[in-house]
Symmetry: C2
Subunit: 233 residues, 2 copies
DNA sequence: GACTTTATTAAGTAGGTACATATTAATATT
DNA sequence: AATATTAATATGTACCTACTTAATAAAGTC
């Protein structure tokens, strides 16, 4: 008697992954049908399906109806990043969080911001600049635009007290988000507020959100020198 | 007669998400039990479960056995990035890909690399520097260390022809990966190979992989100025 | 009251059945 | 031979049932 307990879908996932790692199933190979794997391992097809679902999502295999399952030829590295509220991020590092409003005004959107939102006409939006600090040292400088058509309430928020970052996350869920990372040299304003010298390489996290088709906000969060963003798991 | 067809789990997911967006379920609120939602919407509990599974994965809700489902108070922005083989990335932009080996030698691991791998002792690893080009212009400069204990075959690969990047992805699946992004100023080597002037801000993608506990490779991919990394979806 | 034990609850999982859907393969038609 | 039609097939989905597990609440004990 094998006497072994029933297989869970994570067991199946691990077994299949192991076989891919040890090249039983090599890149480009076609895997057996779910049903055959189920039969071989002694579990239900639904269990194999659940396992495959995850392997497919992490980019290790590719599945097609009728076509079957195939090990990806060029597996991409898929990394997930959590971008929390800055206050949370600072507090979770065990640092003291502070926040300073730098400026707040209604300005016409420049071309760069229009491009981010994908809009053609210039509109007036709330333009907010603010600084997040960790242990009294500059941590992130944010330059944000908020569309007052989709988010008129932002005008009643005292941004000297509550950061737009936090207020928006709490009060303005989005249905679509675009996130991108790039590097820029510190200059003028960013250098000044982050207390660094002009020219220093800074990581920028740019986030733009929409609700349906309507723009909500677009922010460039410029991190202080040395900032690293690392993937979860 | 409503005459409507049966609900799919994506319908349920969209319905729940809509309710979260329109604040029927506000941040911090507890959602009804899966079973009650199923009853209300007229579908099976498993269908609701499948929908919740995705909402939970994207970080919109939090689920606990017995505790039920709760809308996250501070929803994080969760972004997923695919980091393909550089050749693929270049080709998908519609550019011509080229590759140049810059150097290849067996060196002792410096502290920084040991830290990335989480190892205490200095070991000799294969140290490879290479340049990826798009349309004859520098695209990514990579500085890579490969552990020859876990990956002895790399020593037989002609890295002048095939990039270590590509060979490893094809031949050395990993079980764990660490990915991080940061910005650095171009200097000396990186400036020279990327044909940019020293001081320019460059985005660095650092990737370290293991198979089980054993280090495979760690690479710093330094992108040419202007490079942006954007999330999938 | 503080602590431990027990029961309850809601999500999580496994199995089975039936059917839907997207592709590919085979066949028929022009 | 090229094209359109039809059949076959593997994954995807929906529903049901039964059981498991983790977390919480309630009850009991010192």
């Amino acid at each position: 008697m094998t006497g072994q307990t029933r297989l869970s879908w994570t067991d199946v996932r691990d077994e299949i992954r192991a076989r891919i790692l040890n090249r039983t199933y090599a890149p480009g190979d076609k895997l057996p049908r779910d049903e055959d794997i189920a039969l071989e391992l002694g579990c239900a097809r639904t269990t194999v399906h659940r396992a495959m679902q995850e392997l497919s999502q992490t980019g290790l295999v590719e599945r097609k109806r009728k076509g079957g399952t195939q090990v990806k030829i060029d597996p991409v590295t898929r990394a997930t990043f959590d971008i929390p509220i800055t206050r949370r991020e600072v507090e979770q590092r065990g640092s003291k969080y502070d926040y300073q409003l730098i400026s707040r005004s209604l300005d016409d959107t420049p071309l760069s911001v229009m491009a981010r939102f994908g809009i053609q006409q210039t509109v007036q939006m709330l333009h907010v600049k603010a600084l997040h600090l960790a242990d009294n040292r500059p941590y992130i400088f944010e330059d944000r635009w908020v569309d007052t058509r989709s988010t008129p309430d932002i005008l009643n928020v005292d941004l000297k007290v509550e950061s737009a970052n936090e207020w928006l996350v709490r009060n303005k869920p989005y249905s679509r988000v675009d996130v991108r990372f790039f590097a820029m040299n510190a200059e003028g304003e960013s250098a000044e507020h982050l207390s660094t010298k002009a020219g220093d390489a800074l990581l920028v996290i740019e986030r733009t959100t929409w609700i349906g088709q309507d723009p909500i906000t677009s922010v460039q969060a410029v991190a202080a020198p040395g900032y690293q963003l690392s993937a979860v798991n």
